[in-house]
Amino acid sequence: MLDSNKDNLKLEAMKRIIGMVAKGREASDLFPAVVKNVVSKNIEVKKLVYVYLVRYAEEQQDLALLSISTFQRALKDPNQLIRASALRVLSSIRVTMIVPIVMLAIKDAAADMSPYVRKTAAHAIPKLYSLDQDQKEELIQVLEKLLYDKTTLVVGSAVMAFEEVCPERIDLIHKNFRKLCSLLVDVDEWGQVVIINMLTRYARSQFTDPNLQDVDEDEESKRPFYEDENEVDEEQQEKRAPTLDPDHRLLLRSAKPLLQSRNAAVVLSVAQLYHHTAPRSEVHQVAKAMIRLLRSHREVQDIVLTSIAATATRRKVMFEPFLKSFFVRSSDATHIKLLKLEILTSLATESSVGIILRELQTYVAAHDPPFVAAAIQAIGRCASNIKEVTDTCLNGLVSLLSNKDQAVVAESVVVIKKLLQTQPSAHREIIIQMAKLVDSVTVPQARASILWLLGEYSERVPKIAPDVLRKMAKTFTSEEDIVKLQVMTLAVKLCLTNPKQTKLLCQYVLQLAKYDQNYDLRDRARFLRHIIFPADAESGGPTRLSKQAKKIFLAPKPAPVPESHFKDREQFQLGSLSHYINTKANGYQELPPFPLEAPDPKARDVETEPQVMEQAPLFTAKKVSSKKDSKFYSDTESPEDESEEDENSSDEDDDDDEEEEDSSSDKDEEEDDNEDEESSGLEEKLPKKVVKSNAKPKSDEEEEEDESDEDDSSSESVSDSDSEDESSEPSSVPKKQTRNAKPAKESTPVVKPKSNLDLLLDLDDVSPAFTPIMTPSLGGFLTPMSTPSSQVKTQLFPDIQV
């Protein structure tokens, strides 16, 4: 069909081939037939051929060369769309032989009249670079030109290319820094993300640390009076950071409006910019926007929560006002629930802990095992972080011990164990209660914890401990490995404190362990035996080691400090892939530390005006400057515009007026530029600009009000919207106010543990059919599988150097 003369048939054939490609089926043997069609006049056929070419050119290099001449012709096409797509495909064909051709094409395109083609050229640069690294120097030259470009369309792509090809050439940015900052708001969303990320690195390498002076101050010195003031005032009153470079200030200021972007990626990148470079007193501004993102898609929520969790460990105050936003909804996915819990616990303070604990109590009753486990651990973390509530938490946890759900009990046991460790004061009843649980609890983790606890505090329960050991010795062979290890530890400890009752038991346990399948157990048994029962050795008398045995085994252990496992993420740039997965991703660039002395700010002064004008034709420059106003003029559409304006004659006046404004603002901006060149500081300039922008919209408004009807606002309470089209009659504008209240209410009844217990007690006779699942725990504890053993190891031998 491809050889047919009719476009229809060709198109149909190409569609089928693309279908095959899309399904991942091999279609490369059709290559010769397809390539012939690259000259097709039909645009759709051509497009599909392009798609095919890009996919298979690598495999059929020789044949792909046949198509190159077509592209070269297309690159000279008067239609910019065709020029651009030809360059795009040409650069996407990964054939090393055509590198020089692509190089030439990129150079031409970078000087093209059309910004769209220049944008494509910027995209082509990293492609060529990945194809042939040797072209780097030449590419950087082209890139340098593109970075000077003033069109918003091009800038984003140019920076993207810069990031991929030569992120280390920070010197290329100096001259463009101020331009980038001022254009930032108008660049497309994706470009914004890339530019902000790049500028973050730039700021870290070029400006001094704004927080240097107040390092010793306590984290997050609250300065509420800054919050209500607008930026100009803030600038003037900014006495705390007198060294803040004016350019640094410019960067922060131009990024700030982007917090209101609809694109979550942009918001988060601004957040990370503030997080990494802003003075401490200003970082909190981003919190609100980040909270808003929590209402977005699930995936966005997850990533934003991860970032918040990492931030919250360091900057508690920032998110404290939004505490309630992190309350878990029953409709959240599990991993989002876990992240929210994590944040809640790290936000807990003396004042807020009450509310949080109440929430956590509710969560314990949920039916989502991993979540419940995490909630219990969260209680534990709150308890140990905030001393005032420790006892309350402990009581709550103890009442959970009689819960019917095995998993809940097990988790509580583990958490209580950790809590008791932090509290040297006696909790005899709790230990006794836990000891009783040994019979019923089956989760190895929990059993191990109970045993360790008994061993550690055996002198407080002198009667129960040996009894438990007896029971455990009986069932030793059927226990899990971590339980066995703990049985041995318990045996040894008891043997030391209470040798009369337990020496034989201890020997028996060690004997059993000696023949265990697990080599770790056997090792441990042998090791313990030599310390405790040196009589087995030839020396006869007690060795030095065994004399110290009591000191070794019963030395006071430092309590574990539960902390967030988000703490160690600080090293990565917030919001980056590496930050999310917490390992270094391929191609991750470290944020440089702030330099102690700022490099010369003069480097950023622009003195290359004529050069820019050379590349960017006049109309683009005009466009950029007029963009702050409402109207714009571009080459291709002006005829159409005029025809329309004839139709809507009312528009024309408006346009004319604004045109005048445009030109005046052009002048203003030129003046600004001059000022910029003359004075290295921007402080004088910025307030002026603000005033100007205030004045301009006002005149806009007046015009609009003349033409359009008054925005009559209706009586509805929250906000109503009217719209007027300037050109149409008001009557033809139907007003539609649909007000959909869509409240999603979730009532999560708070069930206090006690009432839950009552429910449970009714069912006492039924054995639980629920299989407990232990899941990796959240909240800064070591993961369950490794917890007891590794802890025991380290705690057993606090002074191993003996």
């Binding site: 369309l153 466009k623 109503d720 504008v733």
Partner: protein, 361 residues
């Protein structure tokens, strides 16, 4: 379906994803980012489909997630809905779209106005016309918007009726404890527009009480500066449907919740099972009626079936997902909707308290 940009990656990378999918209990539980030895899989879950992007190097994950969502939005915009069969049916258009949207891993054109000029959305009329005349649905001219500073609007828009519609949608999210007091409540609102205006209109929208909006996000067409200085939304709208702004009124301010729920639910496995009795009532509605009320209760695993009677609307219970859905409809003040009846439980399971979560729309 697959599409490659920088280099060809074998389909087998998806195996990692399928592994995770198998492990997760529900599709929502799959982590959005999966790290494999050489690649990173970033996925989104929309309309019961997964869209997975594979990257090899460091990239902001939100960037990819946001892009994938945008892709799905575009598909929905083009095909009015986005399902597996529709994507299969229009694979060529999908391929062309992806080709325009992404170039070498960097988004190129994501505004639907621009895309629609490059590639015409399919509809039946055009399909017939194309087959008759042999025309393609790829436009041959460059959309001028791509070149202008208004990348979201195409030029040459003409309508005989110039219309603009604004929809205000507000969602109230609240967590209410057992005794009926509000733990936290927040409002999420959107202004969706459908604008059909000729030429290049410049609109401004002002609010009676703009102070209420303390946290807003805008479509890129809105001028930030004007909003900051005067609290007026000034913008050149894109053509057609779009979301002008969304706002969030946080938990600090007081939110009136339009309905209340009185419930009594007890689950015992003695005898036939538990009892359920729920009554809905309106609250602070300022005289408006509440419509389309839907109540959802995720039941504990042990629930086998529900034998319930409603005095209004109808209910469904899905024994697999254990979700009880009660479609109430309009709330009549004189006769409050009520649902009651028994719930049969699997014997031998520990009862878990149910979290009735209520969706009202």
């Amino acid at each position: 379906m697959e599409k490659h940009w920088k280099s060809v990656i074998s389909r087998s990378v998806c195996d990692y994803f399928f592994d995770h999918q198998r492990k997760a209990s529900s599709p929502e539980d799959i982590p959005p980012v999966i790290a494999t030895p050489h690649h990173y899989l970033i996925s989104v879950y929309r309309s019961s489909m997964f869209f997975v992007a594979v990257c090899t190097t460091e990239v902001a994950p939100l960037f990819v997630v946001e892009f994938l969502h945008r892709v799905v939005d575009t598909f929905e915009d083009y095909f009015s809905e986005c399902t597996e069969s529709i994507i299969k049916e229009h694979y060529v258009v999908v391929y062309e779209l992806l080709d325009e949207m992404l170039d070498n891993g960097f988004p190129l054109a994501t505004e639907s106005n621009i895309l629609k000029e490059l590639i015409k959305p399919p509809n039946i009329l055009r399909t017939i016309a194309n087959t008759v005349t042999g025309k393609s649905n790829v436009s041959s001219t460059l959309p001028s918007g791509q070149l202008s500073n208004i990348p979201w609007r195409r030029t040459g828009v003409k309508y005989t009726n110039n219309e603009a519609y604004f929809d205000m949608i507000e969602e109230v999210d609240a967590i209410i404890d057992k005794s009926g007091s509000t733990v936290c409540a927040e409002i999420q609102g959107y202004i969706d527009c459908c604008i059909k205006l000729s030429g290049m209109p410049d609109l401004s929208l002002s609010f009676v009480n703009p102070r209420l909006f303390d946290d807003v996000s805008f479509h890129p067409c809105v001028r930030f500066k004007r909003w900051e200085s005067e609290r007026v939304l000034s913008f050149i709208p894109p053509d057609g449907n779009f979301r002008l702004m969304s706002y969030h009124i946080g938990s600090q301010s007081i939110v009136a919740i339009p309905v209340y729920v009185r419930h009594s639910l007890c689950l015992r496995e003695s005898g036939s099972g538990g009892r359920l009795d729920i009554t809905l009532g309106p609250k602070q509605t300022l005289g408006r009626t509440i419509e389309n009320v839907v109540l959802e209760i995720p039941m504990p695993k042990s629930v086998l079936n529900c034998g319930l009677v409603t005095n209004q609307g109808k209910y469904t219970f899905d024994p697999v997902s254990k979700l009880l859905v009660w479609e109430v409809g309009r709330i009549d003040v004189t006769k409050l909707p009520n649902i009651r009846g028994t719930i049969s439980l699997q014997s031998g399971s520990p009862p878990v308290e149910a979290n009735p979560s209520i969706n009202v729309s």
